[in-house]
Amino acid sequence: MSRHARWLIVLVALFAAMFVAIACGDDDDEDKTPSGGLSGKLEIFSWWTTGGEAAGLQKLYELYPNQCGGTVNIVNSTVAGGGGAQARQVLTTRMLGNDPPGSFQVHMGHELIDSWVTTNYMEPLDSLFKEQGWNDVFPKGVLDIVSYQGKPYAVPVNIHRANVLWYNKAVFTANGLQPPKTLDDFFKVADALKAKGITPLALGDVDSFASIQLMETVLLGKLGATAYNGLWTGATDWKAANVTDALNAFKKTLDYVNSDHSSLSWDQANDLVISGKAAMTIMGDWLEGDMKAKNFTNYGWLPSPGTEGVYDALSDTFGLPKNAPNKAAVLCWLKVVGSKAGQEAFNPLKGSICARTDCNPSLFDAYLQSAMTDWKANTIVPSLAHGAAVKPGWLTEISDAVTAFVANKDAATLQNRLAAACKTAGVCK
């Protein structure tokens, strides 16, 4: 009897020890800030894994010790894929699991506000903004988008433009065509190209954001900035005739894309443009980095058809999660991100323009200089595909409707579903 008891005790002790070991096992990266400077680990979470964006991020890391001092060890934690979709899934489980990184990349607008701010996962940054004088260097429009109830919650690092038409100059010259400025032009040019056996528009929507973004630029081209903005506020009726027209134009656009679009990523679609198999592609301006990475220079750009004078913007931002490990180090990271030096170092590599208005244009290439000009002159609208325009739940429904539409090309159903999604989101009645 006593023998058994002994055995049992040993066994129970083993189990208990296992659990204790497990529970305490990973507390080693508990970050203390010793007096005299920053130290410990600082985990920066993003989906910038390759090319110019990774290089730009690296530049920010290099700036960090200069600006912040101390011995902080920056952990670059990245999740590739899906235009950030995978990274967002990972982030969700981490936040849910109360395992936030030091700071993470998030699109400004509803993606930031509805996912993280209204749910009380983020610290307000009003004192940081005041201390750094950022309220004067970021445009008012941008400040509004990163703020909730009057307080900013994230530091924007860059501005991207989603409505850009990129084209292969050689293809156009060889066929005696002009790149299209309006949708009507576009269809004419596209027919001409199609007749010659060239894919008019390259699309790679294995990640659904590409087709949503295409739809968004067509909506913008057809409806104009005001009506487009109205879609997200309820001011524009989703069932209206002009929306029907716009969606039909979107449908028509899809007639000119490569047949294997659903198996390609956007950069693989760009390969078609580079090789001349396709003439154009509509993609955000991060595509320029891909062109450069592939040593292709003979490209031109225009605002996507019908969107001249409108800047369809998205921005990457960084914020401070509640319970973030090593908070002091994070705050300094945010200072680096928002600084002029930081933005001037990061953006030329990333292929985006500064969110600040005081960056030196001579650091940027021809496209980005033109974008900086447009950024100041154009009407700015939030991007749908990149979470600026609507909250994530709504975007998911739009995304589902578009994914189905791209396969079945049923514009009426698409319109119904988009209208219903607006209602579900509580914006439309």
């Binding site: 058994h4 967002r88 993280w116 294997d260 659903s262 189905a404 791209v406």
Partner: protein, 331 residues
């Protein structure tokens, strides 16, 4: 005798207590992590939890109602049915064919068996990555015939958005309509071609397993039975039909349950190979659940999907578990 007998008896009872104590950690772990969590998910599935912040406000069956009205989920149900039928059918067919060929005293049987089975050792993620390239429209098997000078194939595989279904305006569609089955003439009851690519990859991975099961089943049939049938005048084909196949019925049932419940749960393969596919042609509840929950933050909807998946699996598995445990008890 008495005193020692008593001592033995007492020790045996106390040892039984120890035995129970030994199984308690596992039982508790499973009770909490399986049954407790299922209950928890069920609670979430009838709650309002719609952001990253938990919200357990009770909303009844609203989430389930939403789901059945959600066109993506409707497509997922269709895809699951189509996938299950094709996948289970292909695995059983190929597995049985290979097993019955290998059972005919084939030289190098061990080698063949290892080759057919090795995909089982590989993860679905690897399978997905590899077959994504093998079935890519501009690569893989499409350009394989070129190597023998036969020209390339132009087939879209998992990028093909075509859904085969009975169109309402065809004669068959009208016939269905006239017998009150008009609703079947709808893409929601069709076969999305893209999913066949996933079926191919999944079959590549799992058919070896079915082969092993069938081979073991065939080996368990006494040779004398087949000899008896031969003497009784049956040809090899008749032996297969009248003796082997009926005797393999339990194997077939086991294989169907295992493959079937796997196809209801499938997730890894789809996420690494095709994701949602064109127009959700390869979307499945597992992926939908994952995206809805961790991308769309609709936790309550995600939980509802998972509860429905659990119900579907239970309907399949619980009777089977009863059946096989009873059968085992009889043996």
């Amino acid at each position: 005798m008495n005193s020692s007998g008593h001592r033995l008896a007492r020790r045996l009872t106390s040892e039984r207590a120890v035995a129970i104590a030994l199984i308690v950690p596992s039982a508790v772990a499973v009770a909490v992590f399986v049954y407790g969590f299922i209950a928890w998910s069920a609670v979430v599935s009838v709650s309002e939890w719609d952001t990253v912040r938990p919200d357990y406000t009770y909303v009844g069956l609203d989430n389930f109602r939403d789901l059945f009205n959600n066109f993506r989920f409707q497509i997922d149900i269709r895809n699951t049915v189509v996938f299950t039928v094709l996948f289970v059918g292909a695995c059983l067919g190929i597995g049985f064919a290979l097993a019955s060929l290998l059972d005919r005293h084939v030289r190098g049987e061990g080698l063949f068996r290892s080759i057919y089975l090795f995909p089982m050792a590989v993860s679905f993620i690897v399978t997905g990555v590899v077959w994504r390239w093998l079935l890519a429209p501009r690569a893989g098997v499409n350009i394989l015939p070129e190597k023998v000078g036969a020209g390339s194939i132009d087939y879209g595989w998992y990028t093909d958005p075509t859904v085969l279904y009975v169109h309402a305006d065809t004669r068959l569609g009208e016939a269905l309509h006239s017998v009150g089955l008009g609703f079947l003439a709808n893409p929601n009851y069709g076969v999305p071609l893209a999913i066949t690519s996933v079926v191919i990859a999944a079959t590549w991975q799992m058919s070896g397993f079915v082969m092993v099961m069938y081979l073991a089943g065939l080996r368990a049939i006494p040779d004398e039975l087949r000899d008896a049938a031969r003497v009784d005048g049956a040809s090899e084909a008749q032996i297969l039909r009248h003796i082997s196949v009926p005797l393999l019925r339990p194997v077939t049932l086991s294989a169907m349950i295992i493959l079937g419940h796997q196809s209801l749960k499938i997730f890894d393969l789809v996420i690494s190979m095709t994701r949602r596919g064109p127009g959700f042609a390869t979307d499945v509840p597992g992926l939908f659940m994952y995206e809805t929950t961790f991308q769309g933050n609709h936790f309550s909807h995600g939980a509802a999907v998972s509860i429905l998946m659990l119900l579907a699996v239970s309907v399949l598995v619980i009777p089977y578990l009863f059946w096989s445990l009873r059968r085992e008890a009889r043996l």
